[in-house]
């Protein structure tokens, strides 16, 4: 841990005071990336691009015009298309794919003069909860390299936790920002569906995919969200609605805040130690002025089965474009069209991706569509209604982000169902399209525990405020694998 990257604000202050230049900061991050190469957190390092971006930021800083992210190094999850920079989605299928265009999120961070040092490792096509499903190999958790960092934004989480960069972009389809944030002791924000552009963000499950951020604190997440939130006419699901002033929102006090504690989130399968740690954090919320309200989300248990029908169904269609015809992996010497398709896709996709394509194809097939896909959609509405009902009485809903702390590498990779069960507290949020955040709440056996807060649609400001106020009073988020910063 270099100490340089404890927060975005600290970096920005140093830049403005000319204690350090953006180029020096970028070099520092590139050096740190090399130091932590054993984590396998980056798929591509873009030194040239990073230094060019840093020079641009320095020029702007010299002219006195900057944003809070100007000159701040970061990494993009390798799911965001970056013009001229290889974008693999951690798949052999796209191992050599260089997009000719930037994703909406990439453009916005580029415009904010943030400095991308490269592309973070992830589960292939964002399918996974451990970052073991990467064509480029598993990522290790900086807190314990025998453990997984979580997934699918595992590379992003590991980079920030190791102090290589102060923030990284991520995507969250069923918990892929919040779960790795919890496993790595970070603050991870999944915004409302439609708040952040999906243009250029490689699709896994279109109705659930959501771009967001992993950082050390809610305040840092606020800076990044302020940059990436907003309407994008190139994404028909992007919402045309003004963006709140999240910096102002951050100051809202905890007094009077009603936090719903969902009893289903502390149900069977939740590690007792994790549950207790989260309860203790909630007690602290109470001491800080919030009111805890016992609530129920009766359909919570249906979220996993509904999710594992809808997400694979959409994925089976979204991934049909990888056919070896126009770009990406193509099998050698195809003998027929069918041979081209089958070998290209068998070779190009990993086991978990193939499994989900098969499951999704099955769920959409004639004769099964009503029983699986349509039924899952009905369940989805029930789950969304649970939240609507709950938010009549509370402002936020809380629970453990994950049932356990980070598990060991290889521990669950042979058992897909056990792996899927790790998403039990996060997937419902995606099905309902709501914003949620995971913040560090304490430790269990030396590993970080995450507290998840869920808000009504577009209430990111409330999430950030509740997290920030908690972080002003606690230091869990300041702990790093190398000790407190």
């Amino acid at each position: 841990m270099t100490g340089l990257f404890t927060s975005i604000a600290q970096c920005a202050q140093a830049l403005r005071a000319r204690q350090i230049s953006a180029v020096e900061l970028a070099r520092e991050a590139l050096r740190a990336a090399q130091t932590h190469a054993d984590l396998n957190a980056l798929i591509s390092v873009d030194e040239t691009g990073a230094l060019a971006a840093a020079e641009r930021a320095d020029a702007r800083l010299a002219s006195g015009t900057w944003s809070s992210l100007s000159g701040i190094p970061f990494a993009h999850k390798d799911i965001f298309c970056t013009s001229g920079v290889r974008t693999t989605c951690a798949s052999r299928m796209l191992a050599d794919f260089v997009p000719p265009y930037d994703a909406g999120v990439v453009e916005r961070l580029h415009d904010a003069l943030a400095v991308s040092i490269g592309k973070a490792n992830m589960d292939e096509f964002a399918m996974g909860s451990s970052n073991e499903n990467s064509f480029f190999g598993a990522v290790k958790n900086p807190w314990d390299t025998a453990r997984v960092p979580g997934g699918s934004s595992g590379g992003s989480a590991a980079l920030v936790a190791a102090g290589v960069v102060p923030f990284a972009t991520g995507t969250d389809t069923g918990g892929s920002i919040r779960q790795p944030a919890a496993f790595c002791g970070l603050t991870g924000l999944k915004p409302t569906y439609g708040r952040v552009s999906r243009w250029g963000m490689i699709a896994y499950a279109s109705s659930l995919d959501c771009g967001g951020v992993l950082a050390r604190s809610a305040e840092d997440c606020m800076h990044v969200l302020s940059a990436i939130a907003g309407h994008d006419p190139r994404d028909a699901t992007s919402v045309a609605r003004g963006v709140d002033n999240y910096a102002d929102a951050l100051r809202a006090p905890l007094q009077g805040l009603r936090i719903g504690v969902a009893r289903e989130y502390f149900g069977a399968g939740i590690d007792a130690g994790v549950g207790a740690t989260v309860q203790a954090a909630l007690k602290q919320y109470e001491q800080l002025g919030a009111t805890l309200v016992d609530i129920s989300l009766p359909n919570a248990a249906l979220a996993i089965p509904a999710y594992y029908v809808i997400a694979p169904a959409e994925a089976s269609s979204n991934l049909a474009r990888y056919d070896g015809v126009r770009y990406g992996h193509r099998c050698a010497h195809p003998t027929s069209l069918e041979d081209l398709y089958t070998r290209t896709r068998a070779e190009g996709f990993g086991a978990e991706v193939r499994r989900r394509i098969l499951v999704g194809t099955y769920a959409l097939s004639a004769g099964y569509y009503d029983a699986y896909y349509l039924r899952a959609q009905r369940v989805r509405r029930l789950i969304a209604n649970d939240f609507v009902e709950a938010f009549k009485a509370v402002d936020l809903i809380a629970g453990p982000t994950t049932p356990t702390v980070a598990f060991k590498l290889g521990e669950k990779s042979a058992d897909p169902l056990a792996m899927y069960a790790a998403d039990v507290n996060t997937v419902a949020v995606n099905l309902a399209g709501l914003p949620a955040i995971s913040i560090p709440a304490g430790f269990r056996e030396g590993m970080p525990v995450g507290l998840q807060l869920i808000a009504p649609a577009f209430a990111e400001g409330a999430l950030l405020a509740a997290s920030h106020q908690f972080q002003l009073a606690t230091d869990w988020h300041r702990r790093t694998p190398g000790g407190a910063a």
Binding site: F80, C81, T87, C89, L94, F97, P99, P100, Y101, A103, R198, W199, G200, M201, I202, A203, A205, S206, S207, P233, R234, D235, A236, T237, A313, E314, S316, S317, L319, A320, R321, D323, V325, R326, Y327, L337, Y341, T361, L364, S365, A366, Y369, Y373
Partner: protein, 491 residues
Amino acid sequence: MSMHPGWQAVIGLEIHAQLSTSSKLFSGASTAYGAEPNTHTAVVDIALPGALPVPNHAALDKAIRFGLAIGAHIASRSVFARKNYFYPDLPKGYQISQYELPIVSGGRLPVRLDDGRVIEVELERAHLEEDAGKSLHDAFHAATGIDLNRAGTPLLEIVSKPVLHSAQEAVAYMRTVHTLVRWLGICDGNMQEGSFRCDANVSVRREGAEKLGTRAEIKNVNSFRFVEKAIEYEIERQIRALENGEAIVQETRLYDAARHQTRSMRGKESADDYRYFPDPDLPPLAVTLADVEAVRATLPELPEARRARYIGELHLPEIDATQLCHDRATVEYFEAVLSGLRTRDAGPGEKGDAKLAANWVLGEVSAARNAEHLHFDAPRVSASALAELLTRVREGVISGKIAKDVFAAMWSGEGDADAVIEKRGLKQISDTGALAAAIDAVLAEYPSQLADYRGGNEKLLQFFVGQVMKRTKGQANPQQLNALLREKLQS
């Protein structure tokens, strides 16, 4: 009436009309035909990772326009669905179409058959979808070329109910739709370029049977004549098979134009499972009442209404009215000629104006145009130039016969009517003195015929008319000539 006693054919058509928008259904790429392969392709059209579709509202408006023209229901909420299948010219591995909730449903269209009967054809639906690219199998040795310029082009798939009962009815319906989509300005109707094409679902059943027979789908037939031939062939094939005790297989068949027959597209029928589901990239299309009314306000008078008005108000014969109303450009040209004629009239307009204009538009102009495959939107003789020419006929400056020569000269670019008449010296001789001199000369030249006429052979009148015309190079005013000649013959 059936050509196959005891049998009834049941036909439904799926017409694909390419909507004439400048950009594609879900991307900003151009829809222009004939560009270099793969140059009209945005990242959406080649399905790069992360590319997302955004609906083109111009296409939506055109679909609504069609729906209103056939009195259909316009859905306030329609849904784009993905039709999943793998093919090299289908870049995403799925086609974005509409499945359960199309933009247009129901509606009906009066279809005029060749024998003058009118049938009301009910429509099932019309939905928006994107076209696929093209596979070029012959362009490369041992490889297939893919051109994605067409991928994503907006189509309106117009689906009739299975209510047509002969190849002739099917073609008449197809022609009516073809006229309508061009009339509405939503499709250029160009069949060579594939802008208007058709799949036909054909089955046969015993006369009086309730249950529909097993159908075959004939794919992608791109001319009226081929549709007629293909359906005729298919009806006969199915009847022959059933009469021989064979079963009809539900299958897709291709029309082979060289052999005038259809043949099975696949060796064995695989049940296609397109795994339709609502496209999660595209929220349901919302259409408000105000949106619909805005489109309705721009609807032109429809062909059938226009035809009725021509018969009722302009007193045109039915056949003329029908022919004029085949396409809007013809109608517009005709009306411009007519209004030009009327402007030149001092009075309220002669009753014969409409018929005169119709004769010329359907006669000389159509013939000249057809000879060069020109359309009425780019005629060589403008409507006002034609109106001027016809005015000269009515004024007696030239005869109708001479006018045809003048028209031909105008068509080949010799100038307007007056210039051609002037240059070629075609003004009618209406001067009594000059005419009288010509008649006198002819009578003097043929004394024996004159004696015969005066002896009672009145048929010789035409002989003298012909001779005078010859002498005046056709420029004699026919009415004057007749009157003067009779006068002289009797004197």
